[in-house]
Symmetry: C2
Subunit: 198 residues, 2 copies
Amino acid sequence: MDGLPTLQGLLKQLQRVPYLASKNLYRVANHFLSMTPEQLEQFCRQVREAHERLIKCPRCCAWQEQTGNCQFCSSPKRDHRLICVVETWYDLHTLEKSGGYTGEYHVLGGALSPLDGIGAEDLSIDRLLRRIDGSCNEIILAMNQTPEGEATAALVARALRNKSIKITCLARGVPVGGTLEYMDRLTVCKALLERRDF
Amino acid sequence: MDGLPTLQGLLKQLQRVPYLASKNLYRVANHFLSMTPEQLEQFCRQVREAHERLIKCPRCCAWQEQTGNCQFCSSPKRDHRLICVVETWYDLHTLEKSGGYTGEYHVLGGALSPLDGIGAEDLSIDRLLRRIDGSCNEIILAMNQTPEGEATAALVARALRNKSIKITCLARGVPVGGTLEYMDRLTVCKALLERRDF
């Protein structure tokens, strides 16, 4: 759409939003253009409000309300002996939704990725080391099963080697509901190698 | 994430954006929260600017700059004897990207859908009838091949029956690159029935 500079500006902004496929950009642009002025104001206000009011917890790096306490670090309901280290805040949310975890979290802020310029210094490993005290007795490494995630897990494990603390990681294997026939070779290998007592 | 009302507000706003799957909402929220204040301001400014400056062309109902002319209706490069009727502005864009069309457009603003409460009066059919004059000699109905799209095409064709104007519609059949084996039965039927000279 040449000759529509305002539209180009809008599309450029929307292009930066993750998970918006470029083939859907025009549809999303149409959504914003078709809003009432009040709806648009409300959208902008709420995004801006969230941006102002949510800060990263200085301890676990998850988003928290500026005026309150971190819902993970401060909750008396959670098990403070466990810290689950995740790459990102949305990984944290996935674990949280599973309902299978009630310990604390630590958000690294990404995974090692030399091609993207993300090195050890960009991850909150120092902060993880500082927060570990006598009350914590297990660190769960819950990085993704990708080359970047595995490199990051190795790095964190190495940083923790002087702390006398148990380090575990997520189980690998056939997903629940998965059939062997459609699993890739590596997953089957790992499921065999890391088999458990029935 | 109970206890984070500001985050809930942000998520609620993002939920309304089309093509954002709910499983990606937290990732998109993280994108907005991780912006610099300048980036966020720029985002809000550009969305608001687009909302203010882009209006629907009173003739063809496509978005146009408020200060300029419609790039389709006013362009001397386009064939003003042809009007292609589409359901939505993003359908228009799909046709435009194909590079196979240089005529005018008419955006209906949706398709008949009783379940969604969209009736004939919600579509810009009156406006289509008013704009047809001696210079136009063909109307192409380019609705989607869905029940809603076909009902809409029938409605538009009926509204046009008193105008002595040629009405055509898009060809149906096997997509380019498609193999017969994987086509559904109806597509194969239509491709046979509506076969063309080789």
